[in-house]
Each structure stands twice: as C-alpha cells, then as structure tokens.
C-alpha cells in the first residue's frame, strides 16, 4: 500500500471509529465492580423493590456454565431498562439494556456462569427500580474457558 493511500485509509478508519466511540458509553465503574453491591453503586441504584412482574426464564440446572440461556422480560409499565447481574461471577454486572420508544422490555441472551449463583434482574421504570432473582445451579463452570 502506498503511503498516501495508507494515510487516507487510516483517516477514514478514524472518521468511522470516532463517532462510534463517542456514542458508546460503557459504565466501567459498574462493570469492574467485584460485588453486586458495588455494581449497584456504580449504576447509581439505591433501593430496588422486589417485583413479581419481572420474569426470568432460565434452566434450574445449567450443565455448561459457558452457555446459560436467560430470557428476561418486564410487565411493569414504563420499563426503560433491564439489568442482569450474576451475583457470584468475578464481575457480577453482565448486561444493561436501555429500551427506547419502539422496543419491548424483553431480551434473551446467553451468559457465562463460574458457579451456582443467583441471577438478579433489575428493571427501571419511571425512575424507580424493581428486582427479581432466580437461582441457577451450574455443574461445570464457564469462566475459565
């Protein structure tokens, strides 16, 4: 590749990468937290009320901790965020989904679990937080690889 072309390509790459980086906020403090309490602090969540309107669909026993399917949904009116925390993982906070107008508060994903743990889901609706948990037993952990 000639130098001019290389410069143009890298400029173009920068032009594309910059706006993406500017858009993307990643809550480093919360995701680096080693305890669920610190993760909540990092997310700015004080109190969360237990709610039966938060559904967690997941296996009771996960044979493979590297791929544990979890489906979460909220029937709480005005739900704008769903947060997944695997309490006994080295870094409990696993995902935060912010739903805007046009999306339903529902998500299905696969997660890694190092050991048997409570999976905590939190929902934000109209500035208030709600929570529910489900224990998933893990026979083979999935964090080391």
């Amino acid at each position: 590749m000639n130098p001019l072309r290389r410069t143009l390509v890298s400029l173009l790459a920068l032009a594309i990468a910059k706006p993406l980086a500017a858009l993307a906020a990643w809550n480093k403090e919360a995701f680096s937290a080693k305890t669920p309490g610190d993760a909540l602090k990092g997310l700015g969540i004080g109190n969360a009320a237990p709610s039966k309107d938060l559904q967690i669909e997941a296996p009771e026993i996960a044979e493979n901790g590297a791929v544990v399917p979890i489906e979460i949904s909220s029937a709480i009116a005005g739900t704008s965020s769903l947060i997944v925390m695997i309490e006994k993982n080295p870094f409990p906070l696993t995902a935060r989904f912010d739903f805007k107008e046009g999306a339903l508060p529902f998500v299905k994903l696969n997660v890694k679990m190092g050991e048997t743990s409570d999976v905590r889901v939190l929902a934000e609706a109209a500035g208030k937080y709600y929570t529910a948990t489900k224990e998933i037993k893990v026979t083979i952990g999935g964090c080391g690889g």
Binding site: A25, A66, L104, F106, V107, L109
Partner: protein, 104 residues
C-alpha cells in the same frame, strides 16, 4: 479466534417483531489461559445498538460474561414487513461490526 460476520433475522410476530441476531466474537474474559499457560487478554463486545428505520430503539452495554459468539433476541413493538432493522456492536479493542435486515 477473531471477530467475524454477523447473522440476523427479523420476523413479524403477533403484535411485535422478533429480532434474533448472532455475532461472531471470542468474548475473552481475560481469565482464560491458552495451551502454553499464558493469559488470553480480554476481548469482548461492550456496546450494542438496535435501530429501526434509522432510529435507535435499544442501547445495551454488556460484559465479558456474555457467552462466546453472542446471540440475542429482542422484541420490537408492532412493526411492518420491510422495516429496516440494523444491529451494530463495538468491542473493547475499538473493533465494530453491523448488519442490516428487512422485517419478513
């Protein structure tokens, strides 16, 4: 394993659109060792965006605890055949990828 292509399908359900997206990504935790006993550095997707006809409907932040080659299902309100769905991700190395599909 390097990051690679994505796959997506979006189908009309009853009252909602079902979006299923697959990303090719190692999602390295930084805790795993390679066969030589060296730690494999962290490499994982951090941000995920879902757009419908150019408008952002879901913004997500995820950690290294999401499984390798992540698969997500989302539900969008209503929807119509031909609506343009776009999903993109950005990882901790600044790599990114995107895919577009029309609702079927």
């Amino acid at each position: 394993m390097a990051a690679g292509p994505m796959k997506m399908r979006a189908n009309l359900g009853s009252g909602f659109t079902d979006v299923r997206v697959l990303m090719t990504h190692p999602m390295e935790t930084g805790l795993r060792k390679d066969p030589d006993g060296k730690i494999v550095p962290q490499h994982f997707i951090q941000n995920l965006t879902v757009k419908v006809n150019g408008k952002t409907v879901i913004d997500a932040q995820i950690s290294q605890a999401v499984s390798r080659n992540p698969v997500f299902s989302f539900r969008l309100k209503g929807g119509a055949k031909g609506d343009k769905i776009e999903v993109s991700w950005l990882d901790n190395h600044g790599e990114s990828a995107a895919i577009e599909a029309a609702v079927a």
